[in-house]
Amino acid sequence: MPARLSSRLGILRSFATSTRHQVKNKVREHQKLFQEDNGLPVHLKGGTLDSLLYRFTMTITVVGSCYSVFSLVKAAFPQKNK
């Protein structure tokens, strides 16, 4: 179930009195995953999605920096159009 949907349902379910469909406490499992002795830094320790997000973010950071410098250099030497 997607996280955002489970949390919206989680809000609704938390108003209920019955215990049948309540949100499960997964903190222990997360603690086990993030305390595993595998040498991974915290920003990659969650799994494949972490690497994908990191690579995407770094890519747009590098591309953006290059584009920014290029734009600033271009703006610094205005072309005189006749």
Binding site: V23, K26, V27, V42, Y54, T57, G64, Y67, S68
Partner: protein
């Protein structure tokens, strides 16, 4: 034995400070490109990198604290000092805009007609939507205190209900203010009245949105059992920020809406 013998947190190497700094570069150069060359690509890249950096950096902090246990008492103390200093810096940010408002309104120039509000400006009635907005934010202060006490008393259902109401009130304020902005008979271009009104209330509105976002994240973490009865600094930080936003509004209401 290769383990630390102190209570502080030596963080893992992280790429987010670098991506965050680059995001700031892209935002600022992007603004320049937008203003001078009508191009929004760079600014859009800047907004995206800012968003990605924030999400992953704060996600990592949740991992380091709730899942890895690095937030000992001394670490938490440092975070408390940090949040207080940050909020103090924001107070000074708003003081600047109040200074601008009082500078122009206490001694209105002949160009404005020598009075405040300036000739031709029809200000909003402070006893209509602005008063409702005041009630909404004050109520949110009450509900977040309710949520905090319920959390400390291990009352899960009530803390979730109270925090949900707090978030709803914040969103309600934003919606009401957006409607007011749309319906206002004056614009930001209407002299110094328009400038001071929309810049001061606009930055406040932005901070309400930031505060609401922070509270929504806290709500999700509360539902997912991240907080304990004794250790929930993220929640307290969000509550402090919410109270700060409320106090700024009270000053805005008294100065700009009522006295102005």
């Amino acid at each position: 034995m290769a383990h630390q013998t102190h209570a502080y947190h030596m963080v893992d190497p992280s790429p987010w400070p670098l991506t965050g700094a680059t995001a700031a570069l892209l935002l600022t150069s992007g603004l320049a490109m937008w203003f001078h060359y009508n191009s929004t690509t760079l600014m859009a890249l800047g907004l995206l990198t800012t968003l990605m950096t924030m999400m992953q950096w704060w996600r990592d902090i949740v991992r380091e604290s709730t899942f890895q246990g690095h937030h000992t008492m001394p670490v938490q103390k440092g975070l408390r000092y940090g949040m207080i200093l940050f909020i103090t810096s924001e107070v000074f940010f708003f003081i600047g805009f109040f200074w601008a408002f009082y500078h122009s309104s206490l001694a209105p120039t002949p160009e404005l007609g020598g009075n405040w509000p300036p000739t031709g400006i029809h200000p909003l009635n402070p006893f209509e939507v602005p008063l409702l907005n005041t009630a909404v934010l004050l109520a949110s202060g009450v509900t977040i205190t309710w949520a905090h006490h319920s959390l400390m008393a291990a009352n899960r259902n009530q803390s979730i209900q109270a925090l949900t109401i707090t978030v709803t009130l914040g969103l309600y304020f934003t919606a009401l203010q957006a409607m007011e902005y749309y319906e206002a008979p004056f614009t930001i271009a209407d002299g110094v009245y328009g400038s001071t009104f929309f810049v001061a209330t606009g930055f406040h509105g932005l901070h309400v949105i930031i505060g609401s976002t922070f509270l929504i994240v806290c709500l999700l973490r509360l539902i997912k059992f991240h907080f304990t009865t004794a250790h929930h600094f993220g929640f307290e930080a969000a509550a402090w920020y919410g109270h700060f936003v409320d106090v700024v509004w009270l000053f805005l209401y008294i100065s700009i809406y009522w006295w102005g």
